[in-house]
Symmetry: C2
């Protein structure tokens, strides 16, 4: 009788075990980790297995090693690169249904200069716009616009007035076979238009924070642009990162 469930490799199990012990305080930050030989004895595995696990832990920042002395516990690596997903990325992966809101617009129209430039379209080129007014605690707080070239929008559910049950990323990847590779994000600020002031219920003389996320494939071709407009009196962008 064969077991159908695939067990993770031993070194990966060891990684998990040691991570749990560090989190539980069994291996306290700053203290010396058991040596390779001790771990070999305790877990009954060979040295390459132990070393493989410790290498993973070092690369992830849990421990650091010093030749001749041993390996020291650093603790749970707080920041890999960004604690929380960036704003642009968040709106790409999360389904629309996770944030309550109302679809304001869903149509093909001439893209503004900035959008056309990010998408690599000719000035005044046409793009498909899907704009949602997102609410938090019952109040409108953000205007999220998705711009895609018309040829990419064909055959998708972007025209629907209903929230997409699937994240945009999965939707486009499934329907169009494109692969998202990276995001180029621009952040700027400007004064809102009268229409934006009304839609967002903003006080007078408050600027808008504007985040533009251009989604590109591996070759650098732009596949979509996410535009997020945030009233600056109610929103901030926060990000944490380690120092090189």
């Amino acid at each position: 009788m064969m077991s159908l469930e695939s067990v993770p490799p031993k070194y990966a199990q060891l990684v998990q075990t040691i991570q749990r012990r560090i989190e539980a305080g069994t291996y306290a930050p700053g203290s010396l980790l058991p040596s390779e030989n001790q771990l070999i004895q305790e877990f009954g595995v060979s040295r390459p297995t132990v070393v493989a696990a410790l290498r993973v832990l070092r690369e992830q920042g849990w421990i650091e090693s010093q030749q001749g002395k041993g390996r020291f516990v650093r603790g749970r690596p707080a920041l890999t690169s960004a604690e929380q997903p960036r704003l642009g990325q968040a709106y790409l992966t999360a389904p629309e249904s996770t944030s309550p809101g109302e679809v304001m617009e869903a149509a093909a129209l001439a893209a503004p200069n900035r959008i056309a430039a990010l998408l690599g379209l000719a000035p005044k080129g046409k793009a498909f716009l899907r704009r949602r007014l997102v609410s938090r605690d019952g109040e409108p707080t953000e205007l999220v616009s998705l711009w895609v070239p018309v040829e990419v929008s064909e055959g998708t559910d972007l025209t629907s007035a209903e929230p997409l049950p699937q994240g945009l990323r999965d939707h486009l990847q499934a329907r169009k076979g494109v692969r998202f590779d990276h995001v180029v994000e621009q952040i700027t600020a400007r004064m809102p238009t009268a229409e934006e002031t009304a839609q967002l219920g903003m006080p007078k003389n408050t600027p808008l924070l504007a985040v533009y996320g251009a989604v590109k494939d591996a070759s650098g071709t732009a596949l979509a642009v996410v535009e997020v407009l945030l009233p600056a009196d109610r929103h901030e962008l926060e990000d944490a990162y380690p120092i090189s």
Copy 2:
């Protein structure tokens, strides 16, 4: 006679060699890399050495591997996490002499609420402020303020009206023995004060982009806050990152 120059380990040499071949086109993107056995024969090393090199290359994104088929060339990995250093980090590491500017203020005073909160001080707590008006192309463009708790500022050259020849990071680490670990960055926008409008020569009704970078050590204690004020009509923040 012993050679004093230390040679890099074999697997690291192999990594470099293969990287160069990928960049030179010898191993074209999409093509199949020579198999482990072929590399063993060509370079006269053992399998673990070859595997270690290929593991590094896979983790760095140069190649991908498929069990049963082989390893495929992907090409030079474009984005590791951020192409250019973040704004907050840039002002911490670069010496002031790299950006022309004028020291406007250098004194200890009661920190504004936001700064006090980021530094972990009591409201109205005192902090040392060093404010510079940075110019590009002869025109003032950015207001860069450095806030440090008074006890950290003691024994440093922060009071000098001259540009610091050393980066702030190196200066504080050398003088005070503190170690920078990570940065928490906040981005917001607001309307400028009359004084800021005058100093920066901003047009009417233009918002300010405000970037706050709180520098912390490994324990989370704030060591300094960098405040960068940018007129939104002339500046944008741009960042690129790979999709998870």
